[in-house]
Subunit: 147 residues, 4 copies
C-alpha cells in the first residue's frame, strides 16, 4: 500500500511581485493548437488565489464562514492583451502585483511569462462582495494583504 | 429505434447586432453560486463563432484548409466589465456588434444580457493570424463579413 | 436600440429518448484537433439538465429552496466508451434514456451522435443528495420524472 | 525588474504508483459548492500527462513530430466511481497505476485522494492513435514506459 504525499505548487514573492507556476495541459488548449484564450483567465485566477493564500487569506473558508465574515472576491473588470500564445507542456509563470488596495476593491497587474518572455499582460479589478453587493474589505484581510 | 434530429441554436441579426442565446449550465458556475468569470468569455466566443457562421464563415473548415486559405482568428485583446452575475438555468443573450473591420483585425463590442438587463459589456479585438503571424483578412472573408 | 430576444435550444422526446442538440465550439476542443474527452461529459450533463427541465424540474431553483426541498443531483458513477471523435463546428445530439428510477438514484443511458453515427455511449448513475448524504428522490420530483 | 523563476509541480513514483498533486481552484467547482464532476477528469488527465513526462514522454513534442513519429494518446473508455466530493482549496493527489501495457493501448487505474481518503476511483483505457486510427505504441515509447 503506497504512502500518499503531495507537494502542492507554491508561489513566492520576488520583491513585491508574486510568482506562481502553471503547467499547460490538454484541457487548456484548443484545436488551433495553442492555449484557448479563456484558459489564461483561469491561470490568472490561480495566481490571485495563491497570492491570497500566501497572505493567509483562504477563500474556501471565507465562503463558508469558517474564517469569520462571509464574503467573496469577484472580478469587476479586466483588460487583457494577448501577446504570444502558450502551448501544450509549457511551463508558465503568473506574476501578480497589487497596484492599489482600495476600500472595497483591489487593482492588480497580472502577467504571464514563459522563460522570461511576456505572453500576456492584464489589469484586473477585484471587488469585495457580500450578498451580491459591494462590501468594504474587512480590516483583518486588509492587514494580511498589506503585510 | 428513435430518429435522431437536432435543432441547433441559431442567432439572428436585429439591425446590425447579432444576437445569440446561451443557457447557463452547471459547468459554467463556481462555488460562489454564480457564473465563473471566465465562462462569460466562452459565451462571447460562441457569439463570435455564430456571427461568423451566419456570414457563412466556418472556422473548423478554415483551419483544415477545406475552405481555402488556412488561417485563424485569435483574440488579441479584450476589455470586460462584469456588471451583474448570471446564475444556473439563466437564459442569456450574447449581443455582438462589429465596430471596425480593419486590414488584419476586427473590433467588436459584445454584451451579455438577461431579460434586457446588461450583465457584461466587452470590447474585443480579433486578429487574423496564420502560422502565428498577423495576416490580412482574405478578401472573400471580408466580403462575407461586410455583406 | 435593438430588441433582445432569445430562442434557447430545447430538446424533445422521441419516444422515451430525450434528444438535445449541442454545437461544438473552440472551448470544447484541444490541441489534438478534436473534442477534449472531458467536454463530452459537459455535453451529457446539459442533456440531463434539459431532460429534467422538460419534466419541469429546475435544478437552480431546487438548490436555493425556491422549488421546495433543497437537494441536488450528483454523478455517482459513469461508464463511458469514446467511439469516434467530434470536431469543431459539429452539430451533435445528446440522447438520454432513463433506464431505472430508483429510490435515491437514477440510472441513465446517454449517447452522443452526429448525423446518426454513434460517437459516445455512456451509462450514468445520478444520486439524489442533500448535505452530502444520499436522499430519497422527493415524491413530487418522482411524479414529474415518471409522467 | 523581478527575476522570474518557476518551480512546477512534479509527481513521483511511490513504488509503482505515480502520485501527482492537484490543488482545487474556483474553475474546478460548481454552484453546488463542490468540484464539478467533469473537473476530476481533467485532474486524471494531468496525472497521466505527468506520468508520461516522468517517463520522458512529451505529448506536445510528439504531436508536432519533434519527438519522432506523430501520434497521440486518446481516452478510449473510462469507468469512474465518485465517492466523496472535493472542495475549493483542497489539496488532492492523483494516484496512477499502469495495469496493463497492451499493443496499442494502456490500461490504468487512477484514484484521487485527499489526506489519504479515497474520493474517486477510475479505470481508464488509453489508445494510441494516428490519423484517427489505432496504432501500435512505438517501441521507444514502450521502452520508456516499462523502465
Amino acid at each position: 500500500m503506497p504512502r500518499f504525499s503531495a507537494s502542492l505548487p507554491e508561489g513566492h514573492f520576488e520583491g513585491s511581485t508574486f510568482q506562481f507556476p502553471v503547467r499547460v495541459y490538454y484541457e487548456d488548449t484548443d484545436f488551433s493548437g495553442v492555449v484557448y484564450h479563456a484558459s489564461y483567465l483561469r491561470f490568472l485566477e490561480r495566481g490571485r488565489t495563491e497570492l491570497l493564500r500566501a497572505c493567509d487569506v483562504h477563500q474556501g473558508a471565507i465562503s463558508t464562514g469558517d474564517a469569520g465574515a462571509v464574503f467573496g472576491f469577484a472580478v469587476a473588470s479586466l483588460n487583457v492583451r494577448f501577446i504570444k500564445p502558450a502551448r501544450m507542456d509549457d511551463g508558465l509563470i503568473v506574476a501578480t502585483d497589487v497596484i492599489e488596495l482600495g476600500g472595497a476593491s483591489l487593482d492588480l497587474r497580472q502577467r504571464i511569462l514563459r522563460s522570461g518572455e511576456l505572453l500576456l499582460d492584464a489589469n484586473v479589478r477585484i471587488a469585495c462582495v457580500a450578498n451580491g453587493r459591494p462590501m468594504r474589505i474587512p480590516s483583518e484581510i486588509r492587514q494580511k494583504l498589506t503585510r
